[in-house]
């Protein structure tokens, strides 16, 4: 029923051979055992890759900010300072783990873990390619929204447990900001769900195409506005500048993680960078065509037909192309996020709430209604399809 | 292992815990926590009956409405708690003993 990475791999001959051999050796049907082992391995791979991306995010942030400010940035550790994030990680692990005297120790230790769990649980449904997705739940995007809201609880508890006024203010700001901006983000997601007709990631991406004209961002004007609403809300939800009020250095020292040291601070930072990747991935999946490759190269049918390759091999090549497409788009958005951070000044709290409740939420509701009307009026056709039909009809008329 | 009895047992224990929280605590927010537990117990029962008795999803719809009601209830309840705190500077339930100021 739900397609996963296991159902993709089970098409290959090797999988069948290993399955037959294991079943014979163990004396029972080994399919669920193999599914478990493959899930464990792939989950480990994804967690490893994502931790690396989170670490590399700090490096990219420093390099790009240096670039924007005409500095050099980290350049001592390794070639071009590439190993800087490893050095930072080692430093964080070796640092002393301080818990302030009046802190609520249970909550203090729980908060960073809660942030990290919330972010890593969302990775299960992020669609890297049509085969390489841990679980294509049929409530995929809804599950993602629910799990991501755990980060807000983590931020809030981190602020509360530190028992310091900077942390408390940062935690209150963070939680109110996250639950406020969840509303326009979720309503925009619902309007895209309306266009695609399903909650699972495969349905959402399958309704789009490889070419730009088939993406949902260019499907109709409302979805075009919706992309920007979602992107701004996602920036605010991940506490990135210009919405980084919860961790504003100049006014709150560093907000909810003022009292955190060592690896617990590292977990907060890691969760933030991975969450930025996840929201960029969701934006790509919802609006920018996801893993779709132009000309249907992703299925690999063309390779096996024109080059005469083995069907599994050509499918694997297609998967690699899809992975490339997804990561290229996502990392491009990641760059934009960092770019925005080092370009725009920080908002005030009242401006932040005004932006959410007086502008983004009404616009998001308007977009939802607009998408519904568009689906009803034009039978779900995109604006390009309508223009093509009109010009073709005009040509026939002459 | 996954059976109707197990689900009814779990929801039973949730319900009892909710009752105990509601009666033992004197803090209004803690009482709201107990109400959440009780509502969850009933929603779990509805979902379990859908799975094990008839497969027609009416129980899921009912559980959804319970969740919606719980959300509305906690929003209004916490609003009342905050207003009450502004008036009395306390959220002890024994302080809520008059109808008018």
């Amino acid at each position: 029923m739900n397609s996963t990475v296991v159902s993709y791999l089970s098409q290959s001959n090797e999988f069948q051979n290993i399955h037959a051999w294991l079943s014979k050796a163990l004396g029972f049907d080994a399919s669920s055992l193999m599914a478990f082992v493959i899930f464990a391995i792939v989950a480990l791979i994804i967690v490893g890759v994502m931790a690396t991306i989170g670490g590399a995010g700090t490096y990219a942030e420093r390099k790009i900010s240096a670039d924007l400010q005409a500095r050099v940035g980290p350049n001592r550790v390794g070639p071009f300072g590439l190993l800087q994030f490893l050095a930072d990680g080692v430093k964080m692990i070796l640092k002393e783990d301080i818990i302030t005297t009046n802190a609520d120790k249970f909550v203090f230790n729980l908060a960073p873990v809660m942030c990290l769990v919330g972010v890593f649980a969302t990775l299960a449904v992020v669609p890297y390619s049509s085969g390489f997705i841990l679980a294509d739940l049929n409530v995929g995007i809804f599950y993602l929204v629910g799990m991501a809201s755990l980060v807000g609880v983590g931020v809030f508890l981190g602020g509360y447990a530190s028992n310091s006024k900077w942390s408390l203010l940062g935690g209150m700001r963070g939680a109110s900001q996250i639950i406020s901006y969840e509303i326009p983000a979720t309503i925009t997601i619902i309007s895209i769900v309306l266009l695609a007709g399903g909650l699972s990631m495969k349905t959402l991406i399958g309704a789009q195409g490889g070419g730009m004209q088939d993406w949902f961002i260019l499907h109709n004007p409302f979805a075009f506005i919706g992309f920007f609403v979602y992107f701004i809300s996602a920036l605010a939800e991940t506490n990135r500048a210009p919405f980084d009020l919860p961790e504003a250095e100049s006014e709150l020292v560093s907000g909810y993680h003022t009292e955190y040291t060592g690896m617990k601070f590292g977990l907060f930072a890691l969760a933030e960078y991975i969450e930025v990747f996840v929201v960029c991935g969701v934006a790509v999946a919802l609006f920018l065509g996801g893993y779709n490759v132009p000309f249907d190269l992703g299925t690999g049918a063309l390779f096996s037909k024109s080059l005469g390759l083995d069907s599994m091999l050509s499918q694997n090549i297609g998967q690699l192309l899809q992975l490339g497409a997804f990561f290229t788009k996502t990392l491009a958005l990641y760059y934009v996020v960092i770019w925005v951070r080092w370009t725009l000044p920080r908002l005030r709290v009242d401006q932040l709430m005004t932006l959410c409740w007086k502008y983004l939420t009404p616009i998001a509701i308007f977009n939802l209604l607009g998408c519904a009307v568009w689906m009803y009026a034009f039978d779900g056709k995109s604006i390009f399809a309508l223009i093509m039909a009109a010009t073709a009809g005009g040509g026939a008329h002459h | 292992m996954i059976s109707l009895g197990a689900y009814l047992g779990i929801s039973f224990i949730l319900f009892i815990c909710g009752i105990m929280v509601m009666i033992a605590r004197k803090n209004i927010i803690a009482i709201l926590l107990g109400i959440e537990l009780i509502l969850n117990a009933s929603a779990l029962n509805f979902a379990a009956y859908t799975k094990f008795v008839n497969g027609n999803l009416e129980g899921h719809i009912m559980a959804l409405f319970i969740i919606i009601t719980a959300a509305a209830e906690s929003a209004v309840g916490l609003g009342i708690v905050i207003r009450f705190f502004q008036l009395r500077e306390s959220i002890h339930i024994d302080d809520a003993s008059t109808l008018q100021n």
């Binding site: 409530v139 109110s176 | 319900f15 927010i29 537990l37 094990f52 969740i67 705190f85 502004q86 500077e89």
Partner: protein, 178 residues
């Protein structure tokens, strides 16, 4: 086997969370245990194939209700008087032995009633048909838009009323100290 493992984990999480909500003397901790318990309930929903229900549970409780509760705890952190208006000492906010005894008595009474009601279920559940797990999103959507449209609309109006009502009730007024 994996379904059983998931069921066991969720059940333990649910029950441990619920018991700790009763046991904990710290309101903030009780709130976190409640979150754990609600996550366990979401896992229990997932075990019986109620995928949409599980996701709704996550979205509504983790994202909404628990954060609201935490906010309310933070906004009402004052101490208040230890004595009531007759000068008698009040029962502590998180209960004492006496209230817990009464609570245990009430729990036993309601347990007896519930067991009395549910005994027939355990006695004749031999011929139950267990429905296979199937995706529920589409069917729930269809049911909500056809058979249960009135309840759906009423609940949306109720949510709007709750939204406005909560905002109106809790907004600070000029004459706070009467």
């Amino acid at each position: 086997m994996f379904a059983n493992t998931l069921f066991l984990l969720s059940a333990v999480l649910t029950l441990a969370g619920a018991v700790l909500v009763v046991y904990s003397q710290n309101l903030m901790h009780a709130c976190i245990y409640l979150l754990a318990s609600l996550f366990g309930v979401a896992g229990l929903y997932a075990c019986i194939g109620a995928d949409f229900l599980a996701a709704t549970q996550l979205v509504v409780y983790a994202g909404g209700v628990i954060i609201l509760m935490l906010f309310a705890i933070m906004l009402t952190g004052g101490t208040g008087n230890r004595t009531n208006k007759y000068g008698l000492e009040k029962i502590p906010a998180m209960g004492n032995k006496k209230t817990f005894m009464i609570a245990a008595f009430a729990a036993i009474v309601s347990a007896l009633i519930v067991i009395k009601v549910t005994i027939p279920v355990f006695q004749n559940n031999k011929n139950l048909i267990v429905a296979a797990n199937a995706p529920t999103v589409e069917r729930i959507g269809t049911l909500l838009a056809t058979d249960h449209i009135l309840a759906f609309e009423i609940s949306s109006v109720m949510l709007l009323g709750a939204l406005i009502g909560a905002a109106v009730i809790s907004r600070p007024r000029k004459e706070i100290h009467d």
